[in-house]
Structure formats: C-alpha cells, structure tokens
Amino acid sequence: MDLQTLTYLVVGASFALYIGIAIWARAGSTSDFYVAGGGVHPVTNGMATAADWMSAASFISMAGLISNMGYGGGLFLMGWTGGYVLLAMLLAPYLRKFGKFTVPQFIGDRFYSKTASTVAVVCLLVASITYIIGQMTGVGVAFSRFLGVSSDTGIYIGMAIVFAYAVFGGMKGITYTQVAQYIVLILAYTIPAIFISLQLTGNPLPQLGLGSDIAGTDVSLLDKLNMVVKDLGFSEYTSSVPESYLNMFVYTMSLMIGTAGLPHVIMRFFTVPSVKDARSSAGWALVFIAILYTTAPAVGAMAKLNLHATVNSAVGLETAADGSMKVNPATVKANADLFAPEASLRYEDRPDWMKRWEKTGLLKFEDKNGDGRIQYYNDKTKSEAVKAKAEAAGWKGNELTVNADIIVLANPEIALLPNWVIALVAAGGLAAALSTAAGLLMAISAAVSHDLIKGVFVPNISEKGELMAGKISMAIAIVIAGYLGLNPPGFAAGTVALAFGIAASSLFPAIMMGIFSKKMNKEGAIAGMLAGLFVTLFYVFAHKGIFFIKGTEYLGLIGGANSFFGITPEAFGAIGALVNFAVAFVVDKVTKEPPEHIQALVESVRIPRGAKAVDGSHVH
C-alpha cells in the first residue's frame, strides 16, 4: 500500500477512535463538563495531563531545537518538566482540596473579590488564547504536510474534530480522548527513536544510546558529534550555551513556573477523586511526559549526527545500497578529513528522503562553489582554523539549510522505517496538537461560562443553563481559535513565550500566595497580578511590538534588546513573577488584613481531611 493511502487510513482510524470515545463519554451535568465527574483515576489523569501538556511544539519542534542548541536545549527539558515538581507540591493538592471548577474561582474566593477573579480570567484568557493560536497553526501545518490538503482545509478539519469531542463531551470527553491521544503520540515518537538508536549504537533504549559508543567502535557518540560539529565551525554540542548562563537560568525558571501556572494543566487536577490522588497524579503525569522528554535529546543528537554523516562521508556513517544509514567503524575511528573534496555528498547522489523534503522547502541546497557537491558547515564561524581549512578546500559558504522541524518528522524516513511508522508519526503529530488545543479550549470555556457568566453576570443560572452556556462558549472559542489559526496575527513564534510569561508572572504567584500566606489580602494580590502582568507585557512588547504589531517595538525606551541583564523576552516571566511577589507584599503590608473567615478558609485548604467532590458552587 502506498504511503499516502496508509497515512489516510492510520489518521482516519485515530480520528474514529477519538469520536467514538466522545460519544461514549458525553457530558450530562456541569460536573461531567468541567471536571469529568471528578472520578478520574490518578494514573489515567496523569496520562491525560501528559497529552494535554505535550503540544505540537513538544512533539514536532523540541527535538529540532535541542539538536540546534545542544547542551543549552536542556533549558526546555528541565523547564517543562521541573514545573511538575512545583505543581505537585505547591498547587495541585491544595486546589483539589478547595474543590471548585476553575482557577479564577479559587483566586476570586480566596481573595474575596470579584475584581481579583476577573483579573485572573483576563490573564487566563490571554495566556490560553495566545497559546492556542500556535496549536491551530500546528494542526494546519501537520494536516497539509501529511494529508496533502491545504493548511486552511487542515484547520477546518481540526476544528470539526475538536468540536465533535470537546463540545459534547466537555472535560469527560477530553479526558478519555487525551488518553488515546497520548498512546498514539508516544508510540509515534519512540518507535523511530528506538530503531535509530539501535542502528547507531546497538542499544535499543535511546536514553542509554545517547551516552553509548557508536556501534562497533570505542568512540562515544557524543564525543564524535562534538568533534564533527567543532571541526565544521559549529559550537561544541555538549557545552554550547544560549546567550549566557544567567539567561539560561532565568529562562528555565520561567518555563518551570509557567508550566505550574498554566490553567489548562492545573484544571486536570480537579478531576481526581482526592487530595492524595492529586499528589500522585502529578508524578504519573511526569512519568508519561518524561518518556518523550528523555527520548527527545537522543532524537536531536542522533539526527544531527545522521544529517552530518549524510552530507559528509568522512563522519563515518555510510548510506547502504537500500538507502539506510550504516555505521562504518573504520572511518569512525580514523577521524577522516571532513574537508577532503570527495567527502562531501554529490548533489545527484542525495538520498530520497532529502528529495522529498526539498519539495516542502524545509530543506534547501545551493551549490555556491559549483562543484556539484553539498558542503555543510558554519560559514559564520569565529574559528580562524576552520575558516582557513574551508578556504583551502575551495568552499564558498554553507550550501545546506535545514528547518529544525524536519528532525522529528523525517526521522523515520532517514532510518528507512516501514511506511506504517511514517503514517503513525503523522497521527502522532496531529494527536499532540489536537489534545493540547482541546485542553486550552476547556480552560477558556470554563472561565467564560463558570467565572464570568455564572460568577459575575447571571449568578442564579440553572445547572442546565450553565451547561448550555459552557457548550456555547466552547463552540465560540473553537471558531475564534480557528479564525486566529487561519489568520495568525504574525506572531506565532512569540505567542508561546507570552503564554508562559503571563502564567508565570500573574497566575502562579497569586495562587501560591493564596495558599502559603494566610495574611495576603485582596489589595496585595490584585496589585501583584497587575504589576507582574504589566512588567512582563512591557518587556515582551518592547522586543516584539505592541500586541506584536510590527514596527511598534520600543527597544530604545528600555535601552536596547535584552537590556535587562541580557535576559531575552522569552525568559522574562520569572522576573515578572518576582515583581508580582514584591509588589503584593508591599501593598499587603500597608492595607488591612483579610477577614477572619478567609484565614479560616486558607487553614482548611491546607488540610486534606474533608475533601469533597468538586462542586464549583460560588460562595458569594
């Protein structure tokens, strides 16, 4: 069967599965709709959380980023997993004990103020909507690449599928489809990685393969990679740092507290039966996430070595007659000359997978010195030795550009895996994008129907009415998300940074202070959230333009790019959080204490006994 038909079949089967689950898990009550009835097993919830959390970016782009960044890519790995430790200890069990449907409701009740709750709703909406744009464009890209339809059609199909299971199933439908989506995406990710690790190192576990010797030699894979990239003028793989160690530190911190503060992740912990389950479920979520996150660095490094080996035979891997990659131990050990004229790949000999990806524009060749061969090196290197060698060899600049997203998507083709694996990767990419989109839509619709409509505008709405309001706001959110996916405001790359920045600088500190400081009052919390949000937006917009409109950057005003100790805007959330805490404590000191019953509420939230089913009723 040809690849295209097989891809339609596998992707079609996965969609049928999701919709089947949605029909089985229809939501009949608000409790079903917001918290899946509250009886989800902690392991099941962990799996759903992992799918909820791992987006198109984690699945498709992360390994490519790590591959380009080397050691510095660790900031994504640590940042996006370390947040779960904070979530498990500082937020999840206490919010579960509190027993309500949404994050803004906790903030509104704890800070006895509809203003606080509304500020939280605004932060939640901005964070979730900016994040969802990236997911929708991801859905479009994935569809167009795998199913051969236009990106717009892809987004329409994606909207219809999410509509089918999210609007009717609510959190209940989303939970069980996410479990299925997790299984699809993790198989799609790990199967090619296992094969490649086996080919290169003889070790089937990519996590161990990355630290192993290349098969048949005593040369470690990372040493070889370091040597090759250094010789070609790139920075050393295992020690290259993005910007500075300080920036890496702050960036990692921002991703950690952003992860812990993202409402669509927090909400998943309202669905388990008890406080005890909320604690362990965060651990299970991290186990399921770690399967992908510890595989990603191996995928990144091995793909990089494979790519260099494909274009330069002196690396020591060879393309066998069937097109697959084979280790040649003698060449690996010999450290042959990468600059030898016959080492570079002849353009006409390039493998089939390169030809296929060339058509997408994600892989490009340009024969600058007209020798009919492809030279791949860093022509902007600062190393005089490398420059001299390249010049002596008659190289006139780098001739190959590779989009980082290829790394995961082309992996099975590079390793010559059977077509069903390639089809599975397509289904995996779509599962990753759809599951995160659904989780975000759930957070948005709950904030609108529960916190705004029921909480502020129509307090005595019936349960049936609220359920209807929830479904309608979900449907509207899907249409808006689809529209933004079709007409991305030209800032798709900056959106994830902003989503994390907002979650880190406004929501995380407010929730933490609500639990860990009995005396924190509403004035302090509101001032803190606004200050953290404002400072973060100010710094991000200074770099990327006001609301990301090109030409409105005001870098001059803040003294140039990354002017705050060299910290990049993506990493600024942690600074925003510090500002939030500082402002909150100062304002708290000069205003009056929270009332007695609020202090009693905090006291009760801290103790697991008496945790009830999550009911979401409003107290004021």
Binding site: M78, L210, G211, S239, T252, S280, A290, P297, I607, P608
Partner: protein, 84 residues
C-alpha cells in the same frame, strides 16, 4: 487542634523545603551553575553536567514527586488529618 494544625503545617513546610533544595540542586545547580565543572567527569559516554541538564534532573524530578506523595501521606496520618 490549633496547635496541632500549626505543627502539621510546619512539618509540611519542612518537607517542601527539603524537596525544593534537591529540585534546585539537580536542575539549576548541577544542570546549569556547575555544569561546566561537572562536564569534566563522565558518566558512561555522557559529560556529567550535560547529563543532568538533559536527562538526570528529569529522573530526579519524578523520584521527588513520588517521594513527596508518600512522605506527605505519612505526615497526614501522623497528625490525623488524612482523608477518610
């Protein structure tokens, strides 16, 4: 009861502090601040600082959460505030 709940909270914060110290040490410490120094040591084929940044800290995070869940359960029972 007041005394008891103060003691319970103190025990909880003690546990959190312990875990956060390890959380910080493996990620920001071994993975970033001391990574260049640790890279001189190798673990199998991994430079140690690189290993902590890309693998090790994640394994430790998982262990920390399950340890936390267990230790917290013990504290709950000790102070008789566990769920029934």
């Amino acid at each position: 009861m007041d005394n008891n709940s103060a003691a319970y909270w103190k025990a909880t914060l003690g546990l959190l502090t312990k875990i956060l110290v390890i959380w910080f040490a493996v990620s920001f410490g071994a993975g970033i601040i001391f990574a260049p120094a640790l890279n001189a040591i190798s673990l199998g084929g991994y430079p140690l600082g690189f290993w902590f940044a890309q693998q090790g800290s994640i394994y430790v995070f998982i262990a920390l959460i399950f340890y936390y869940a267990k230790a917290m359960g013990d504290i709950d029972r000790k102070f008789d505030v566990h769920e029934d």
